[in-house]
Symmetry: C2
Subunit: 312 residues, 2 copies
């Protein structure tokens, strides 16, 4: 096994992502020691049982002496958590996160972190609809993109290039493909590839709930027609997603405005029986699906391969 990237890795927040990092870092030897902490005592107990690493009694204890600290908490909690451990952060330590909104994450961490700590926000484009420490697994990041958004003003700071290289090496060791970009671009891209799809999924499930002329039983029973895919996405962690929409408000509202305009045009085409307009819109979609499969970003199997008959 090659040398560990970090001597002491501290993970604050032991949910799906935090516990997956702990598992992957242990399995790949990317960190010599893994210290963990969660504000929820039950989660800490579960993490201890799962053997995810050294579960600390406090955030401060976890980060003390760590050369890398990864905050795996909702975006809205990043500032508070950073502030709570700031005095225990070692000079020269890397402070990163896994939040889905990078401008807000960068601002929150930078404001609360002490001088001499390298703040490098990050976002793994990986996850599942499940939550909690037991939901994590070591291969979650295999082949997934990991986006780092180093602050533009950090480039001149002594040691910042080395810190970025180390963090990039850590995620590569975990199996991820690392990209760097500026935080604003990240937030614009993710607004359409992730935030809007989740908002739409949450919304359609709510709409289905409230259809008083359609039985909920029928919705469940006949969900294979398409609806079930939306419910998977909409089963994601509510706290995390609340914070995403609050933190990426501008990009989400801009994207949502375009979506609603486009939807109004489709609605009009349906009302006026404009079949040609519908056909043209529907035809465009196949090309982008093909591009996603060609790029290895999704299973090429139809129905994601899930409808195979049970093995006999």
């Amino acid at each position: 096994m090659t040398d560990p990237v970090f001597k002491r890795l501290a993970i604050l927040g032991i949910g799906l992502i935090g516990s997956s990092i702990a598992r992957a870092a242990a399995e790949t030897g990317a960190a010599e020691t893994i210290a963990l902490w969660d504000r929820d005592a039950d989660v800490r107990a579960e993490a201890t049982e799962l053997g995810l690493g050294q579960v600390a009694a406090s955030g401060q204890e976890a980060v003390r002496g760590a050369d890398c600290v990864i905050l795996c908490v909702p975006v809205g909690a990043l500032g508070e958590v950073t502030g709570a451990v700031a005095s225990a952060l070692a000079p020269g330590a890397i402070l990163t996160d896994v939040g889905s909104v990078k401008t807000a994450a960068a601002a929150a961490m930078a404001a609360a972190a002490p001088d001499g700590v390298f703040v490098i926000p990050g976002h793994p484009i990986a996850g599942t609809e499940a939550s909690g420490p037991a939901a994590g697994f070591a291969t979650l990041f295999t082949g997934a993109w990991h986006i780092l958004t180093p602050p533009p003003d950090s480039a001149d700071t002594a040691g910042s290039a080395e810190a970025l290289a180390a963090l990039s090496g850590f995620w590569t060791r975990l199996g991820a493909r690392v990209e760097t970009m500026d935080a604003e671009r990240h937030d614009r891209v993710l607004a359409i590839t992730s935030h809007l799809p989740h908002l739409i999924a949450f919304n359609i499930v709510a709409t289905a709930y409230d259809m008083e002329r359609v039985d909920e039983q029928d919705v469940v029973k006949y969900s294979a027609g398409g609806f079930r895919d939306f419910t998977r996405i909409a089963a994601s962690d509510p706290t995390m997603w609340r914070d995403v929409f609050l933190a990426n408000k501008d990009a989400v509202l801009e994207t949502l405005g375009r979506f609603s305009e486009d939807l109004a045009a489709l609605q009009r085409a349906i009302r006026w029986g404009d079949g040609d307009a519908l056909f043209q819109e529907f035809t465009r979609a196949r090309r982008i699906r093909k591009a996603i499969i060609d790029a290895g970003m999704d299973s090429a199997e139809v129905n994601f391969g899930r409808d195979k008959p049970p093995p006999t």
Copy 2:
């Protein structure tokens, strides 16, 4: 092997669904002879090569002497296809379809079918995003619901109960779970479980296309955040879906209106930073996902099981 349900089964339209019925009927022995026809000569040649059954030179030839005829064409073509073969339909034959809108399907077939033919519209809640005869497979209907919507005025006709029992037995033999309901209820339920999800998916892909400040490369690359799920649904056959929205206009517009209202409320909550409202909406969704999995309507595996690392 038990007796065949039908002596001669005719399938008009040899796409994903038509070819899957042919395969399943052959494999389960549900039909003694399987006659097929498609208006596209290339598709007929492909069906011959695939060995799906006796490929006829015309629709009339295919249906002649058939005790069951299944129209597997877009809803908008049902009237025309029925009219074209009407004079060759045997008295006492069952005429059914697989269209996603049952009031329109029933009206179109009933208007064009001769007296003495039992028109029993049907809809398998099964499919994939792929199209064409090669995309079909024999187990497509295994465990899936199949909805039959026998016309209410048919109940008194001599032989109609037997016809319904035979068609129901055929789909059961193919592995489906058969339900009967009235066409209006079907169309209301499917508007929310299938038609609206598809419209939304088509629309979000179009919106992503037109984001001039976001690179299409980035959309593809970071699609694992949620967007890729929508592109799968949006890769479905454009002609079929155009017809669905035209044929189920009222139920779709009603459902879409509610969706847009609900979305406007979420939009307002984002704009005004109302985190509690967002959290409450997002929390409701988990329950319906659980109900869908408990009902066996989707894979319980996270990410539909598709993100498992490649076997080593």
